[in-house]
Amino acid sequence: MKKIGGLISVLILMVVLVAGCGEKEADTFTVGFDQNFPPMGFVGDDGEFTGFDLELAAEVATRLDRELVLQPISWDAKDMELKSENIDCVWNGFTINGREELYTWTDPYMENAQVFVVRNDSGIKSMADLKDKTVVVQKDSSAEKAIQDNTLLLETFGELIKAADYNMALMDLESGAVDAVAMDEIVARYQLGKREGVFEVMDEDISAEEYGVGFLLGNESLRDEVQEQLVAMAKDGTLKTISEKWFGSDVTTIK
C-alpha cells in the first residue's frame, strides 16, 4: 500500500504544480521569435537578444506600459505557443502572404522577398539552372510555402530538403551538400555580409511579400493596441530611426 501512496502523492504534486501555474500576468507583452533569425531577432555581440523586430517590439511595449518578455521559440511550434497563450504574438520577420487567414495581423510594416542563395562559384544564375539541383528551405517558413505553391518550379528540383534553421541550411550550402537555399531576402543579405565572398543572391525572386506582427486569430484588442503604437511610431519618426540603424535606410511601410 505504501508504494501506491507514494505514487499518488507524486501525481498530486504534479497536478498542484500545473494548477499553480494557471494565472497569467496582464502587464507583460510576450513576443515569440526564432532566435536564429538575424537581423530581425538574434543573439547580439553582448549575448543579449537584439534585432530590428525586437527593437520595434521593445518600443511598442514601452509605449503600452507593459513589460517586454522575449521568448525564443521553436519555429514549428509557433501555433501551439500562440494558442496556449504562452506568447502574445509572433514578431519575427513574419510573412503575412499565404497566412492571412491564420492569424490576426497588424498592417504590414516592411517588404521582403523570397530569394535563392547559391554559392558564388556554382554557376547557378537563374531558376532554370536549378533543374535537378538540391534546394533547402527552413521548415514551416514562407519560403517553403512559396516553393510549394510554385509546383512548376518545384517539379524541376532534384530534391527539396527542410532544415531546422537558416544557419544549418547555409552551412549545408557552404559545404556543397546542397545547391541552393530559399530564404527571406532580408536575412540572406545579413548572412551574406557575415560570410563575404561565399554566397550570392540570385537576381530572380521567388515571390514578393510583406512582414507583419501576427497575433492569435481573433485577438483583435491586443492587435489594435500594437497597431496604434506602430502608427504613432511611424508619425513621430521612430520607425525610421530604428530602420536606419539596422538597414541604413527607411524600409518600413506603415503610414
Binding site: 500576468e25 532566435q35 496556449s84 534553421d165 544557419n167
Partner: protein, 216 residues
Amino acid sequence: MNLYVLLSELGRGMLISIEIFVLTLIISLPLGLVIAFGRMAKQPVLRIFFKIYISIMRGTPLMLQLMVVYFGPYYLFGISLSRDYRFWAVIIGFGLNYAAYFAEIYRGGIESMPIGQYEAAKLLGYGKAQTFFRIILPQVIKRIIPAITNEVITLVKDTSLAFVISVTEMFTVAKAIASAQANMMPYVAAGIFYYIFNFVVATTMEKIEKKLSYYR
C-alpha cells in the same frame, strides 16, 4: 562577439542544462524505484499498469513526450499556463521518461538477487522492509551502477531536447550564436562543454562504483 561573451553565454545555457540534469535525477531515481515495485507487484492490475507505463515511456520519443507534458494541459484540459511552467514541463517530462528506464534497471538488479538472501534474512528475523533496505538494495545498487552511469550520461546529452518547448539550454544557445555570428566556433565550444560535463559525471560515477566495491 568576443570569446568571453561566447563562453559566458554558453555557461548560462550550461547552467540550465545542469539544472535539468540534477532535477531530473532527483525525481527519476526514486520514482524509478517506485515504478519498479509497481512493475513487480503481485496485484495484476497494478503490474499491468506499470508495464504499460514503461512501454509507452520507452516506446515514444522523449521529444514528443515533452510536447505532450507542456502543451497537454492546455489542449486537453484548457488550463492556460504561465511562463514558469515551460521549465517545469521539461523536468516533469524528463523525470517521467528517465524513471521508466531506471525502473527496468532496478528491476533487473532486484530480480538478480538469489532467493537464499531473502530466506536467510527471514531466519535472522528481518522484516520485509528491513530485508529490502538493509540487505537487498545495497547489493542491487552495487550491481546496477554501470547501467545507471550509461543512462546518466545519456541524460546529459538529452538535455538538448529541451528546446523543443523553447527552453534555452546550452545547445540552443550555441545554435543561436552560430547563426548570429555565422561561424562554427560556438558548436565546437558547446562540444567541449558537454564533454567536460560528461567527464565529471563519468569520473564521479566511477568513484562511487569503487567505493561500493568493498568486498574486493
